[in-house]
Symmetry: C2
């Protein structure tokens, strides 16, 4: 595990995806593991920190998620645009994508999920909350966040800090067909 | 209704929120109407176009949503940052926010919901899919999109087209506490 990431307090974990970034979903069950991209995720509660993510029921990720009950969400930075699209375009059933794309992982602290820090803004480990109906009807999987960490150059003290200096870590937001908007410099709303 | 918006094919409607923008939720029931901001929404299916959005069960919007069975999602552009935060910061129970902030509306074509085009990139009318359990447990409301339109300067032919020329319509992504990342110029992933 690279040393520069810092723990994110669980009550701040939902803020990591509050602004709708495209995420990577990693899973592990026994010797099997996988990574995919998901554009459709959101927080549903701050405390306890709960999220939902849409994962196709025919995907290898869903198979491993149901077998293990766990998944991780990783938030890639802008420099990772090619890898993000790549892991979202092929199936892990056709071979280990971590090996195929040379992705170095380490084991998550609570659930042992395969995590990546190089190129990532943040990550979180999640425990599935079984919701059979919404999983079946909407491919929508609910989960509780049990550990989270972020690169303090872009997220610290519970807040995102986008700047010119950390452009490579600005989050990706998939528009479709491999086109990603990158989160730009923030604007502060004035009171009306 | 201003004339420059163009209909979005229903099979493309989910793309309007694919990249995680903060949205405005409008509702109407009889003479009552409301508008709020919501950072937590996502598509759950392309066809039929279905979405989910987190709306607090104690909010006035939830009350009107349940009474009418309908809501609209509006996607504000960057120039609307102050209004977006404002309508997310006060309750419609304390007075009509459209009047308070001088927001001109027109009636949606299918459900008659209060819509706005000035300052918006797009809008969609949605019919609630009753899911009592997820509404209760996660404040997560599922719905099907029944009409959609967008400003063709930024979304046309089923695709977002972010450019320097349409910066005022770039989408807002709420980081928290009134700070919004603005979707910047897109990057196209290269094949690995």
């Amino acid at each position: 595990m690279s040393s520069h990431f810092q723990s994110v307090a669980l009550e701040h974990a939902s803020r990591l995806i509050n602004h709708g970034p495209t995420v990577l979903v990693t899973t592990r069950h026994g010797a099997a593991r996988n990574i995919m991209a998901a554009a459709w995720s959101m927080p549903v509660e701050f405390s306890p920190p709960r999220v939902s993510v849409v994962i196709d029921k025919h995907s290898y990720t869903r198979e491993l998620l149901h077998a293990s009950g766990h998944f991780a969400l990783l938030i890639p930075g802008a420099a990772w645009v090619d890898q993000t699209y790549a892991v979202g375009s092929v199936s892990g059933r056709d071979g280990d994508k971590f090996l195929r794309y040379g992705l170095a992982t380490f084991d998550g602290p609570v659930l042992g999920l395969p995590l990546i820090e190089q190129g990532m803004a943040a990550w979180m480990e999640c425990r599935r909350i079984p919701e059979q109906h919404t999983e079946d009807a909407y491919d929508t999987c609910f989960a509780e966040v049990v550990s989270a960490a972020a690169d303090p150059r872009i997220f610290s003290g519970g807040h995102w800090n986008f700047s010119e200096a950390n452009r490579d870590l600005h989050t990706l937001h998939h528009l479709g067909a491999g086109n990603f908007a990158v989160a730009g410099m923030p604007r502060k709303a004035r009171e009306l």
